[in-house]
């Protein structure tokens, strides 16, 4: 079962320069909430930003990761 810390590390490893804050939303290990800040998001639509993060997890989203709620932003 994926843990919040593991999800954070995978996001940060997959998107260069990204910093992620991930919390287990329900404590059940399958609903997570992530705020991701990355320079890679600059110039991309919100849809594209979210897709970049979802792509890291592929079929795990909707499977072992029942939900990954996302907030994406560019660095200030």
């Amino acid at each position: 079962m994926p843990q919040a810390e593991e999800i954070k590390q995978r996001i940060e490893a997959a998107i260069p320069g990204a910093s992620a804050e991930v919390e287990d939303w329900t404590g059940g290990g399958d609903h997570f909430k992530a705020t991701v800040t990355a320079a890679a998001f600059v110039g991309r639509s919100r849809i594209e930003q979210h897709r970049l993060v979802y792509e890291i997890f592929g079929a795990e989203i909707g499977g072992p990761i029942h939900a990954l709620s996302l907030k994406t932003q560019s660095p200030q």
């Binding site: 849809i47 997890f57 907030k71």
Partner: protein, 112 residues
């Protein structure tokens, strides 16, 4: 599943997206949402009094598979406006709070 059946489902979804200006693919129905994310998205649309079509993806898992193949979006709900994917629950809620959703839907925002 035969390839033909798969194509039929995909075509039907594509047609629904093109024929309805605002369409929400969700778990459950607007009156009885079966998931908190779908419920929140429906509530945002309803509070803007925006008319929308809704498709329940739960009766047949193939609806969800084909929808995600079309939209390249892994989760439910998915909101489409004028044939374009607007987003899932997170994006819709963010846009609702910023007033962007009302703009996208072309509805007037009632003053508080």
């Amino acid at each position: 599943m035969s390839e033909n059946e798969q194509n039929q489902i995909r075509d039907a979804i594509g047609q629904a997206i093109n024929e309805n200006e605002v369409i929400l693919f969700m778990k459950g129905t607007p009156d009885a949402p079966a998931c908190g994310f779908s419920a929140r998205t429906v509530a945002a649309l309803q509070s803007l009094q925006a008319p929308f079509a809704a498709v329940d993806v739960l009766p047949d898992p193939r609806i969800r598979e084909e929808l995600s193949a079309i939209s390249q979006w892994p989760t439910i709900p998915q909101l489409f406006v004028k044939g374009e994917l607007v987003g899932g629950c997170d994006i819709v809620m963010e846009m609702y709070e910023s007033g962007e959703l009302a703009q996208t839907l072309g509805v007037a925002v009632a003053s508080p």
